[in-house]
């Protein structure tokens, strides 16, 4: 193609190059990666130019000059046969690098295609390949290499080919896992629907996924191969005519009392080379991971410092009667390049006893962050940038706190404030029965006996509408349905008679018929126990069903607050109006929902897209 205007394929290719170039760039800028590359470069150069670099013949034995020290005729001295150590080191680099390359090449040549086929097609080949892999992994490589040596005789190259076979399961598993995770990705389905052949799907969509892990694995494998190759030579199982680092270590070790320095040079050569490969692999992994997650978790030790007791601070008088009061709350996260990103900004609301407050917003509105701040379950690196939270007349986050003090919240959590999560299945520990997960907090917090806790748990399970409490009590999480699991989590949330429940999208993961039943359970419990509930949701139907008051959040800010009827029937804020206009119930079918006429002058399309973009970034 000689076109001057870049066509689609070209521009795409360039973008691809940009991605790779930036990975390379990061690798070189990483001091660890750069060091490793320089060391390996030097070693490769030495190996390639061995005849030019080496001061002499590696196998020329000067019997009159054995175990000479450095200086004099040879730079690094001579070994027990009077051979020049420097020359042997230089030629040893050749063998070392070639054997690493050979082992890696054999391992890739077997493992990669096998992994691709097994991962993509599965079936008989997969079964057979897995079985072979299990056998290969059950064999200690050293023992296999000994057997091969016994059968075939001393040959570094045969040993490395066999070692490559033994290493191939690593590549096989890596490739297979990567392919399996991609095979069912929707974009591969989309390619199939487009009629792309299997070969092209593998080449275009799947090979790109395994490329990076393969390179990392290869760096590691080269290190392992050098280690085992040197060890074989060290044991005297290699070809005695070939100068290798392993043989040199063995020679040094035999003369350890007379000339320990002869041991140091080859050992250092081996260690430095392997370390360079390991460092290269690590640096590669780091530079690829940087690409994926910009948000580096910066950890704060949960040590004594963080648990330091904080004095209680008196709340503003006249507000003690609110069960929960959030005042001007701000939450931010440190950014990798310095600075801070605010996800909740100046949010204020309150909840009273026997009241259900809905926090409504779209993804990234900060509604979940607000809920976790109330619970004190924000990630470690979260910063409280401002404001305060008070519960029953006591600050849990005082006005000057910059993070959540666990000693203020830990005594309340589970006992007076509890939590209903969104995903029912992932919020139960799969290794423990439902019963043990229910009774444990009760024994701890209520101080009752195990037997009493058990009776209570059975009653709770019955009260959240579980038909056979005993069976569910004895079941493991994987044995119950999502709807049942959510009821179990609700039972857990009310088990210690809390005053306030924070429910984070409690029905979002459920089918609509189950959602209705779960909401019935929540409503009944709320009115019976006089609970205060904060329901975080994006669904106005849920709001209408259960909430007394509503706050609407957008982009970390609170945009509107009021009684449920006022907000749903006559919203004042333009964003609330857009949200309600997006509801489908009671709208004429087949007509546009968000035309400019209907919404203007609320928000323009550009503003909405912008808002959406900024929201997406925060999740």
């Amino acid at each position: 193609m000689t076109e001057v205007t870049p066509n689609v394929a070209q521009s795409a290719g360039q973008a691809g190059v940009v991605v790779r170039a930036s990975t390379w760039h990061r690798l070189v800028r990483n001091p660890m990666g750069l060091t490793a590359l320089v060391i390996l470069g030097v070693i490769v150069l030495i190996a390639v130019l061995a005849p030019l670099v080496a001061p002499g013949d590696p196998n020329f034995a000067d019997i009159g000059n054995v175990l000479a020290g450095p200086g004099g005729g040879s730079w690094l001295g001579t070994d027990s046969a009077g051979r020049d150590i420097a020359s042997r080191l230089v030629y040893g680099a050749q063998v070392t690098l070639l054997s690493a390359a050979l082992a890696a090449a054999v391992a890739i040549a077997i493992g990669l295609p096998a992994g691709l086929l097994a991962g993509y097609y599965g079936g008989t080949f997969d079964g057979l390949a897995n079985w072979t892999t299990n056998i290969l992994l059950a064999l200690p490589s050293m023992v296999v290499l000994l057997a091969v040596r016994a059968a075939i005789g001393p040959s570094t190259w045969i040993a490395m080919v066999v070692f490559g076979v033994l290493l191939s399961p690593g590549y096989y598993r890596l490739t297979r896992t990567a392919v399996q995770s991609v095979r069912n990705e929707l974009y591969v389905d989309a390619a199939r629907v487009s009629g792309l052949s299997d070969g092209r799907i593998i080449a275009r969509h799947i090979f790109s996924v395994v490329r990076a892990p393969i390179i990392i694995q290869t760096a590691m494998v080269c290190g392992v191969a050098i280690s085992i190759q040197s060890a074989l030579e060290f044991l005297g199982l290699g070809d005695p005519m070939v100068p290798t680092w392993g043989v040199m270590v063995a020679d040094g070790f035999r003369n350890i009392y007379r000339a320990p320095l002869t041991l140091v040079w080859p050992s250092a050569a081996i260690a430095v080379t392997i370390a360079a490969f390991v460092l290269l692999g690590n640096a590669l992994r780091d530079s690829l991971e940087d690409l994926e997650k910009v948000k580096e978790k910066r950890a704060r030790p949960v040590g004594p410092a963080a648990r330091r007791a904080v004095p209680p601070v008196a709340v503003e008088s006249g507000t003690e009667h609110h069960l929960l009061k959030v005042t001007g709350l701000g939450i931010g996260y440190p950014q990798p390049g310095g600075g801070r990103k605010t996800v909740v900004d100046g949010v204020s609301f309150h909840v009273d006893r026997n009241e259900v407050l809905g926090i409504v917003g779209e993804s990234g509105s900060g509604k979940t962050q607000t809920a976790f701040a109330i619970l004190g379950l924000l990630p470690d690196n979260a910063i409280v940038t401002g404001g305060a939270i008070q519960f029953d007349g006591v600050y849990t986050v005082a006005p000057d706190d910059d993070h959540v003090h666990q000693d203020r919240l830990a005594p309340l959590r589970g006992k007076r404030i509890s939590y209903i999560p969104q995903e029912p299945m992932s919020n139960l520990d799969p290794a423990f029965t439902v019963g043990s997960q229910l009774t444990r907090p009760m024994v701890r917090i209520l101080g009752i006996t195990k037997a009493a806790a058990r009776d209570r748990a059975l009653n709770l399970l019955a009260s959240v509408g579980i038909p056979e409490p005993q069976r569910t009590y004895d079941a493991y999480p994987h044995e119950i349905s999502g709807g049942m699991a959510q009821r179990v989590l609700i039972a857990g949330a009310i088990s210690c008679e809390p005053d306030l429940i924070i429910a984070d999208e409690p029905t979002t993961a459920l089918d609509v018929t189950v959602q209705a039943e779960v909401l019935d359970v929540l409503r009944e419990l709320q009115s019976r126990l006089g609970l205060g509930i904060v329901v975080v949701t994006h669904n106005f139907g849920v709001v209408a069903d259960i909430c007394d008051r509503v706050v609407v959040m957008q982009n970390g800010r609170l945009v509107e607050e009021g009684p449920v009827r006022a907000i749903l029937r006559s919203p004042q804020d333009p964003y609330t109006k857009v949200l309600l206009a997006s509801m489908l119930e009671n709208k004429p079918p087949m007509t546009p929902l968000l035309t400019e006429e209907k919404l203007s002058p609320l928000l323009t399309e550009d503003e909405l897209v912008q808002a959406e973009e900024s929201l997406e970034l925060t999740t």
């Binding site: 299990n134 056998i135 992994l137 059950a138 064999l139 200690p140 490589s141 050293m142 023992v143 296999v144 000994l146 057997a147 091969v148 040596r149 016994a150 290190g223 050098i226 085992i228 040197s230 044991l235 199982l237 270590v249 070790f253 009392y257 320990p260 041991l263 050992s267 260690a271 392997i274 370390a275 390991v278 460092l279 690590n282 978790k297 950890a299 704060r300 030790p301 949960v302 040590g303 619970l375 470690d380 959590r413 589970g414 006992k415 939590y419 999560p421 995903e423 919020n427 520990d429 290794a431 444990r440 907090p441 701890r444 917090i445 493991y476 994987h478 044995e479 989590l489 857990g492 210690c496």
Partner: protein, 313 residues
Amino acid sequence: MLFMILRRIGSGVVVLVTVACLTFVLLYASSSNIARNILGDQATPEALAAKEAELGLDQPLLTRLADWWAHALRGDFGRSWFTNEQVFSAIASRLPVTLVMVFASIILIALVAAVLGMLAAVRRGWVDRLVQIGAVLGSALPGFIIGVFLVWVFAIQLRLFPPISKITPNAGLNLWVLSLTLPVIALVINGVASAAQQIRSAFIRQLELDYVRTLRSRGITEREILFRHVLRSAAPAGLTVLSLQFISLLGGVVIIESIFAIAGMGRLAVEATTKSDLPLVMGVVVYTVVIVIVVNLLVDILNGWLNPKVRVS
């Protein structure tokens, strides 16, 4: 559960048979030089032929394989070609010291790596960085170089330990343990480095799961969350890591025994290999595979017991 165990035992037997047959074929396929190897270059053609007949090398390969199995199933793995010692008793006399070292090493690896991995995962910060750096350094040094330098520094320079360990338990338990200390340290360092790293990531994966947050919300203490819930859920990953470490220890011990001149199975394997003493090599391979299979079976049973989905069914 029982079905799972039986299936694993079955597949273990299949693996053993496959490996044994393949090894036998590999070792004995080219048997032309064996007799000369044993008798030396001066042997007459008649003596060579007699030796071949004595060893059964004039039989077809498959006949010899069947013959080997017939004896092996009765516990008879033949005799060494050079020392005429029973393969079974040669291995049996050397296996204990090897197993002591390997099991002592795996227990040390498990303890140290679990503590380091957990600390790094839970504390993060500088502890984490230290563990990570240590892991890179530890995995960069091959076991035999570590062993050689341990001898040089601690046995030769500082004279804290005996440099070679031809010491049996009869010489006094203290001395015996002392003599095995350096070899075990040399064996353990690589394993700790890589296992700590993997245990660390297994813990971090678990700590980021939703249910941990829910447990916190229920008022469960961090200590209980860590030791009761997370430890248990991370255990299968840790066990898998350790079972792979165990296999690599069986290889590593070959080298370490040679460095420290310990009369264990590894050193026996090297000697048999150098002399092409095929019945011994064959015996070593079979014993190693059996040990691996038994350990893997134990790991599978433990993992199955930890996983309610397997245990309940």
